[in-house]
Symmetry: C2
Subunit: 329 residues, 2 copies
């Protein structure tokens, strides 16, 4: 309607300037509509949602590039563990103010990841907040009908496997906060940077998604700590497990920090895939992981029963943990 001030509203102009280039899917309608269209193409749509909050999941002075990548990648990690191929995402951005110096690198990095993971922006909502910034992403993937890999499905006798290394991100966060790990690695800038990098930017294992679907009975991504996440998977499947601490894959940087195993398995932010695999599928999964360049390790076995999973040392004795995982409440 006729308006004295012909400027586009700040919100629309912000979306057009920063986020329209990311909306490459025809179903996004260039972000000019109120909704997006997702074609299922005969497959199931897998839906996952994860939010990151300033001061909780990232630090206020973290680079906007790493915040963007982390916000998307924590969702991509869920899709990978469910055996789903990324199809797109919607973004809710709660901002205190709209600053080019923050939004430009944020949007550019988000766009790079959207492209490299083939997961285009489909839509979103940009709102103002007087409080901490927050980025909430809902991501979509596709699996053949009925083929999402669940937490339910682990069977006694399955081997428990995990990708990458465990605990790095928790140590990286400790370093960022100037904790004990920072002191332990005081002279080792390379190790510190590597661990901080793991905290800032997860490496979701989407390359392994199809192999997980082909070979795993159950899977989830490790986001709140290996110990607690395995306990959740076992509870959902109605089984127990035994994990050999010495088999848990640890990075050289984490090894140099020389922290207790509890710090590694109860920390969060790993974003690796935890899965249970029948014996006769292990060789094929290992071969496929090698082909796509994802490290994977056998760390234990699913057992019958309903008790909490056990973590045992080299002598077979139980290692008792004071906490299993990160919880918000």
């Amino acid at each position: 309607m006729t308006q004295d001030n012909k400027q586009v509203s700040g919100e629309d102009s912000l979306i057009a300037r920063y986020f329209k280039p990311l909306a490459t899917d025809p179903g996004a309608f260039g972000l000019v509509d109120d909704a997006a269209v997702l074609k299922a193409q005969g497959e199931d749509i897998v839906v996952t949602t994860d939010a990151v909050v300033e001061g909780v999941h990232y630090l206020a002075d973290d680079p906007p590039e790493t915040i963007a990548r982390k916000a998307l990648r924590v969702n991509l990690s869920d899709l990978a563990a469910k055996g789903a191929v990324p199809a797109g995402f919607v973004l809710t951005l709660a901002l205190r103010k709209a600053e080019d110096a923050w939004l430009r690198p944020f949007a550019d990095a988000l766009g790079e990841d959207a492209k490299s993971f083939a997961c285009p922006l489909l839509g979103g909502d940009t709102v103002s907040t007087p409080g901490p910034q927050m980025i909430s992403i809902t991501a979509f993937g596709r699996v053949p009908a009925g083929r999402m890999v669940g937490r339910v499905g682990a069977k006694p006798g399955d081997r428990i496997m995990v990708t990458g290394t465990i605990g790095d991100a928790a140590l990286g966060l400790d370093i960022r906060r100037g904790g004990a790990v920072a002191a332990a690695l005081a002279g080792d800038r390379v190790a510190q940077d590597e661990l901080i990098g793991r905290y800032h930017v997860p490496r979701p294992r989407n390359a392994l998604a199809k192999a997980v679907r082909a070979h795993a009975n159950a899977a989830m991504d490790v986001s709140d700590g290996l110990a607690g996440d395995l306990a959740k998977l076992c509870a959902a499947s109605g089984v127990s497990a035994v994990i050999e601490a010495a088999r848990i894959p640890i990075s050289p940087a984490a090894a140099r920090a020389a922290v207790a195993i509890e710090k590694l398995v109860a920390g969060g932010d790993d974003y690796e895939i935890l899965c249970t695999v029948p014996q006769d599928h292990i060789a094929a999964l290992i071969e496929e992981a090698a082909r796509v360049g994802v490290p994977i390790a056998e760390i234990g076995t699913v057992t019958a029963g309903r008790e909490q999973p056990r973590l045992i040392d080299a002598q077979g004795a139980d290692i008792v943990l004071s906490r299993l995982s990160y919880s918000h409440f």
Copy 2:
């Protein structure tokens, strides 16, 4: 794994206690998995996302019941305007603390709406925040392939129609804040309560979704003010429009407040459907609206051209607005 403290983590227990009863769709897996499955059943999935922030979209002392209903209904309203039938939603809840006195009525009201609109909870994420609470919902609907009603599609000659009444929620917010409308309606408690009710709890027009799909060339929901939202629809469709101010439907309560038309058409939170309808479909749409009990009015006409839509008075003179709509930035 073995843990000294056997308590379920607060976050998981919170989700199980409050939100599992809402997860009635088999694709939600009872909220024990990391992701949900959405079946497309040969149709397109329509995706929309809208967040509400404490102190911005609702007031800190608003009842948790109305906050829950508003958070879901603003998304249901988008689905209605797109001609989509609700299929489910995912919820991201950023809370300062987990209090039963707030969460219980919030979850119960959300569950009631999820049931009455046939839009079950599919999944979510619960995070802690040191700042204002925030509820971000991504909702899904289904339309026959290629049949989502877009903002693009309005044609010169189409009549412009709008459901319900316009401006009530903006006046309700003014009353809640003790503004000029509160003074104007000082002795009229009934009108005040009605307007506040429209601000607290939108009435999304999902009953009209199929008729919109059958009869409208273009549609959107009015969420940021009729004037600005019509301008967006026209810009997307490459057309202009003329609206007759006297035809804009106003509630009796709003009429009694006797505010300028600008206050009504540039306010937000209406959550009515704005659509453009070819002349030969108007009778059928009006008939269908009457059948499902949704008031609908013709307020103007789509015209050729690219200029801003005009709002005219009874003499045909332009009414100039100082602002078109609410914008966050």
